[in-house]
Symmetry: C2
Subunit: 560 residues, 2 copies
């Protein structure tokens, strides 16, 4: 490719709102341009990288036995209604109506579509298992997009769906995909950590994220630096025992100075640590309007995702407003750990680790002390609804460390989550009986992977593409092009490299200084830079993007 005719050349400055390195570099180097916030043009250089990433994904997926196909972009909304996902998706689902008044969803994922096409065939157990996938545009109506390709409103996702006769067979495929994903990312130079995570609106019982560690990542996970890696939304930890063997003292209503309002006030007043106090956090279910009060030990925080699972309301809880509190007869700072009519109480497991809690029924100038779970109050249930944090201990005694990362892929057990909700999502088993499929799904965000590669591989000067995904292998620079003999030599080098099937970007511009050409080459980040100039004589100067040193090679050497 002649750089003079490439659409999407380098520019000096990134947009002023670009804060992430990948956003800045991909913009400046001419790989992407924003259409509207969160929707990007992938320019020719970017498309070459995207194609290579897709090529690696396709190769490894096919090798693992998966079959590529393609589903329509517009999903009949009736399918999403069949699984009730019009209500449970975390993102707002975009909907559109055609001229015949039929409603469609612009899907964020395509579970219903794939189940729908499979059930049209009414397969037998002999046709199973299979894993079918596509590369298709996905839509997420995010309230806030993030700079560059890391959190966007539309993007190409490789989404795969596996259909098995039972859990045992499914588990083999889950492991197969796990290994395939590790291999895919490794081929792109990415070291991924496999993190237990929350299945969210996708459903199912367990899932894992493939995460590239990065301080600018949006995924927070806890790790013991050995075996355990879990997203904060699911991370477990051992609740330390505070005083569970202490004798229960008599429940009391006590006077309390009016200045005692906050947790800090309480600590000062009672001279006791946070862990001895009861804390209440109030949520509302945006669908059912139900009020949920989470009761937890004072030193811990509630994790909303865990709480949503505890009350079977995934993606449905939001912070209660002052108005919501009024409805159950209280106000902020005066929420009781029991007794508000119209509220459901969910307790954290930590309530079992403390005897004689302070708090629980705060009024203007009184509160309760020596409050004991089981004796003085109970919740609808006790569950793990607490946010795990760095330094907390695992059951094994290992200390947790908090890390951030970019989620580039995920694999989900779906089990019967879709096949039991959708009519006829069955196969005929050996005995001629209809049975629901046991399913899994597997996603890779192509654009996000591209951005993650840039976040990992760059320096002050620009991008440093791993060879496997680089837009071109060679960046050929011609200098001193006013000299006809040099000009014809570099064009000759370009032709011969092309003839040998090499991928070459050739900076043939005649009115650009050497310094600017070198700077562009560093910014674009192609693995090998070649220079032909007066100084290089019969040879070609070769420099790796990752190294400082150059050496002179002959065209023959280069070609072999």
């Amino acid at each position: 490719m002649l750089y003079s005719k490439l659409f999407g050349k380098t520019v000096k400055n990134a947009p002023s709102d670009a804060t992430l390195t990948s956003h800045k570099l991909l913009y400046q180097a001419g790989f992407i341009r924003e259409s509207t916030a969160g929707r990007y043009f992938i320019l020719p250089l970017g498309q070459l990288v995207q194609s290579k990433i897709m090529g690696i994904v396709r190769y490894e997926m096919n090798k693992a036995g998966a079959q590529e196909m393609l589903s329509p972009v517009l999903h009949p909304l009736v399918l999403w209604e069949e699984t009730n996902r019009t209500k449970t998706t975390g993102f707002e689902l975009m909907k559109i109506r055609d001229r015949r008044e039929i409603w469609f969803a612009l899907g964020g994922t395509a579970e219903e579509m794939f189940v729908d096409v499979v059930r049209k065939f009414r397969p037998s157990y002999k046709d199973l298992p299979f894993n079918i996938y596509q590369f298709a545009m996905k839509f997420r109506d995010e309230l806030r997009a993030r700079g560059g390709l890391l959190r966007v409103r539309e993007f190409i996702m490789k989404d795969a769906y596996s259909f098995d006769v039972d859990e045992e067979n499914f588990k083999k495929e889950y492991k197969n995909m796990w290994n395939t994903y590790s291999q895919i990312f490794k081929k792109m130079g990415l070291n991924t950590i496999v993190v237990e995570s929350d299945n969210g609106y996708i459903g199912g019982e367990y899932c894992h994220e493939f995460v590239v560690e990065s301080d600018i990542g949006e995924t927070s996970f806890l790790t013991d630096r050995e075996k355990y890696n879990a997203h904060v939304d699911v991370a477990l930890f051992e609740r330390d025992d505070i005083n569970s063997t202490e004798e229960e003292k008599p429940f009391k209503i006590v006077e309390q100075p009016e200045w005692v309002k906050t947790m800090d006030d309480n600590i000062k007043h009672y001279q006791l640590p946070k862990s001895r106090f009861l804390k209440n956090v109030v949520y509302k279910n945006r669908i059912t309007k139900e009020i949920i009060i989470a009761v937890i030990r004072g030193d811990l925080d509630v994790n909303k995702t865990k709480l949503e699972h505890a009350v079977n309301a995934v993606g449905q809880l939001e912070d209660a407003t002052e108005q919501d509190l009024t409805k159950i007869g209280t106000k902020r700072g005066h929420v009781h750990s029991w007794g508000h009519k119209g509220a459901r109480y969910i307790g954290d497991l930590s309530l079992k680790t403390v005897k004689n809690f302070i708090g629980g029924q705060k009024e203007k100038s009184t509160d309760t002390i020596n409050v004991n779970y089981g004796r003085d109050f109970t919740c609808e249930k006790l569950a793990d609804i607490a946010l795990a944090k760095e330094t907390y201990l695992l059951e094994t005694g290992k200390k947790l460390v908090e890390k951030k990362g970019i989620e580039v892929g995920n694999i989900f057990q779906l089990g019967y989550h879709y096949s039991k909700k959708m009519k006829d999502a069955t196969f005929i088993d050996k005995n001629g009986k209809e049975k629901p499929f046991y399913m899994g799904c597997y996603g890779i965000g192509i654009g996000r992977t591209l951005a993650a590669i840039v976040e990992k591989f760059h320096d002050e000067q620009g991008i440093i593409w791993p060879e496997s995904v680089a837009p071109y292998k060679y960046h050929l620079i011609g200098l001193d092009l006013k000299d006809q003999s040099i000009k014809s030599k570099v064009h000759q080098v370009y032709k011969e490299l092309l003839a040998k099937g090499r991928e070459v970007l050739f900076d043939d511009r005649e009115d650009i200084t050497a310094g600017n050409k070198f700077a562009d080459a560093d910014l674009i980040g192609i693995p090998y830079r070649l220079v032909v100039s007066k100084r290089t004589g019969d040879k070609i100067e070769l420099k790796k993007r990752t190294e400082k040193s150059t050496r002179l090679v002959s065209l023959d050497e280069l070609a072999s």
Copy 2:
């Protein structure tokens, strides 16, 4: 690929509403399934063909110097408003709003998007020319979809957009794309006819369709079987002279029996041929509500598309209703060739070929005779608004023949149509001045091309894929698989072919008869059928899909 695990197996019957061969065969052979009307799943076999078609298109486009990129699916509606295409698109444009209340179009083409991304760069003349393209899902909110992939509501289109400094340079690129397209279709085995056609809502001054001749095609074109090929919407023809040298007789209002109502009645009454009568056809502009009366010689028909161009209202005319006629003071059968207030009169060129027309001012029992254009009435303009038909003559004297075909691609001159409507759609010329781009655009419908291939290449038994786009090269069939030695032999053949990089679909099913396996192979249409059975001994039976005869070959022969 093991056929036993392929998703998308053959079925006996096509859907009852499938009338087209390509629809039936692609359904029965397991290449496609309908999601909702006009929106298709491309199953794994279909996806392999689609990928090969896309591979050929990509290879030839790149070879021609075009650069692949990708635009967002959702087009900001403001861009379509900038060119006024929200009103002029022939198909209903689908629109969708995001949660931030921003409106988007689901584009049927992407001219505005590509101009938008290019203008962000403010290129110089040195950056031009370039031709950028994408493979992207396109949406057409058709009222009626057609069976299979021939007329659908969403489909992958390769759409390319060229940007040149002027018309002269553009013409080279137009020729370049013309040749590229011919080469693309040739590689797929398709013989295409390049047909002059109407630019419709795309705009610009001229364009050509690449048409595969086929009786089931929706494109009607006229050809002189030599040089001239033109869509009925643009086809020219010579209006034969009727009596233009005759002397003009005095204009007269004459009594006419009340039974004279239709053209046939007139012919009977006056004993004159159709060509001696005036005919009026009334349309309404659905945007401006304007009434247009087309006046034409009685033996000719009006072509609405030509008329739309004549009045600069592309995609906007519809048949007038009785109510519309009332508005201009008339009723059906009594439309005058002049004088209705509030109507615009457009005449066909044929009005010049007749002296002393009959008709023009029909009332209940009178009409006018000896009506002469220019003397007794004039139109706002005379233009070519007549439908060309088979047997009409060209200027060259050659007779026109009408043919039908499937439009698989098209190329459009756009000129300044977009760059003058859109702000800053300019480059900096040699003198530092801003100039609008001279543009062209170039489309290929991938799914329709796939269907066209099936329409051309099939027999009673099924599809006959040209090798360049076949899903696999070999269809390996194992028979007598209960015999372990045969079973292991055929699995060995499969492995060795794969190891040699061959594309093989292997029918490994053990409970299917030979007859059914052969029928499936014929239906699916892979170029070479291989059989391993008791009868084939050490050899493999080879049969081409296009031939009846088989022969025995060794694995070595096959591999070389």
